[in-house]
Amino acid sequence: MTDIQNPSGEKRKHDEPFAERETNYIDLLGRFAPVIFLLVLIVIFYALNPRFLSQRNIFNVLRQVSITGLLAIGMTFVILTAGIDLSVGSLLAFSGIVAAGVAKGTRTNTLSLGTTEESGYGVLAAILAAITIGMLGGLVQGAATTKFKIPPFVVTLGGLSAFRGATLLFSNGGPISGFNDAFTEWGQGEIGPVPIPVIIFLGFAVVAHIVLRYTQYGRHVYAVGGNPEAARLSGLNVGLITTSVYVIQGFFAGLGGFVLAARLNSAEAVAGTGFELTVIASVVIGGTSLFGGEGSVLGTVIGSLLIGVLINGLVLNNVNPYVQQVSIGIVIVIAVAFDTFVKSRRSI
């Protein structure tokens, strides 16, 4: 019977002929490797330090993961189309600083104003500003890749530099900090025991999962990533779909920029530096193929958690921060190598 939960065809394992069974084990292993790896890490870190699984630390990990996790949701759309967005960290910073400027009604750092200061345009305007900036940034980059056929790697590498520069210009290089409670609540508040950024992250993860799995648009994103020529001949507007994923990524960069500013009670001009690595790593470790057309938001959430757990566990065990960076790099390479291995086995 139809398995409507897996429109992109993950059900194949049930009905393939015998000869292909062996490939299926590798396939299955490939699909569940991130989960297995995550569980293994959790067990190891718990054994080393039981505090690792305290409620406090669990929410700590989740809160740390939530910002890059939001970006990784957007990046999943981008990478599914075989694209890439290196500009996410810079676009996040730019959106965040604009949001801060809007919230405070000034572009200079005015710490002297109290945290209850009401001179700006309000939180709602700040959120809208951040998201608008993010989506516009995504639109420009998406249009540049599709209209002028510039590889997304190049366009967003330009964006990485340009949006960072725009951020520094906006605030003259400094941070904009000190917001009222209505603003900081979005980053520091909790509903019950759950931090609000975590709720935002997981909430949007669910929405994105539904969009990719169950809607026509989601199907088209996969098709464009799998075979853009086939998509075009089937009547899809490939340029529009490709552009749209960068706009979606921009939306999450904007939202992430706002939430990060709220959490730190400060929009830093250098915020999000190097985020592109963590974000792309989360997506790829979660099983989304850099070649496009394969992957899921669920995988990305697991990939994000995996990186969060890894960093948190290393910190808890007082591992040298430089070693943390090295270990993340190694994990990424292993994940991609594994993905490539699974692919090559499958196509025999």
């Binding site: 009905d15 002929p17 996969y222 086939a230």
Partner: protein, 255 residues
């Protein structure tokens, strides 16, 4: 088989810069007929069908569909008329399953936004059954895992699922082995038997003599003759392909 052509092209011309890919080509196909389109590499076969499919417009010429003059400005216009093309390089998305490929771009949606997977799977299975495509075990198989013949069958099934009236196949057996070529040729015959007009491009005259009712030969962008298969032989066709009499001097722009 009806005598009235369902699709008729009159004096179609198309140039790419200095290259005249088509010069005043006439072409027709009737319901229930398999019309072969043959010619050497670069003769203009793909150009002719891309013009029919709306991939690009002819510079000059007229298209008649069911006796009426039509204008085809894009693939969607062609599809709306009931003209479907299976391209040389198989337009399937490898990462999607059979159902998703069959419905790509025309997915069935349950109100208000959800893909109707069950209905799409049912229609896929029905179509494959009606074409007697038995080599595909599951409509939920990923296309990447299918053989060339199976993929070709999916591409053809995708083309006929939409109540199409004319199905055009650009070299459907070029990359296939003996058994798989057999399957596709059988499928072509069945399509025509159901009353569809089928246009098949192929370099394999043996295959063509097996399935085609008539053969149109292009040479250097010109129609050098349309032959009834039963009254012709391979030798005559080979001669037409290589030395058929040209109406226009090649390379000279026609005014």
């Amino acid at each position: 088989m009806s005598e009235q052509p369902i699709l008729e092209i009159k004096k179609a011309s198309k140039s790419f810069g200095a290259v005249q890919a088509l010069i005043e080509v006439d072409f027709e196909v009737r319901p229930g007929e398999v019309m072969a389109l043959v010619g050497d590499n670069g003769a203009g076969k793909s150009t002719l069908i891309k013009g029919i499919a709306g991939i690009y417009a002819f510079d000059k010429g007229e298209i008649y569909f069911e006796g009426k003059r039509v204008h085809i400005h894009g693939p969607r216009d062609a599809a709306a008329l009931g003209i479907e093309v299976v391209y040389q390089d198989l337009a399937l998305a490898d990462n999607l399953d059979v159902v998703a490929n069959m419905f790509l771009g025309r997915e069935l949606v349950q109100a208000p936004w959800r893909l109707d997977e069950a209905a799409m799977e049912r229609a896929t299975v029905e179509t494959l059954d009606s074409l007697a495509v038995t080599t595909i075990q599951s409509a939920r198989q990923i296309v990447a895992g299918l053989s060339g013949g199976q993929r070709q069958a999916i591409a053809v099934a995708k083309a006929v699922m939409w109540n199409s009236k004319v199905v055009i196949l650009d070299e459907p057996t070029a990359a296939l082995g003996v058994a798989q070529t057999r399957q596709v040729l059988d499928l072509v015959t069945r399509l025509a038997d159901t009353g569809l007009a089928v246009v098949i491009i192929s370099h394999n005259l043996h295959d063509i003599f097996e399935v085609a009712h008539r053969i149109t030969v292009l040479r250097l962008g010109q129609n050098v003759g349309t032959y009834v298969t039963a009254e012709s032989d391979q030798q005559e066709i080979v001669h037409a392909i290589t030395a058929g009499e040209l109406q226009f001097v090649p390379g000279m722009a026609q005014e």
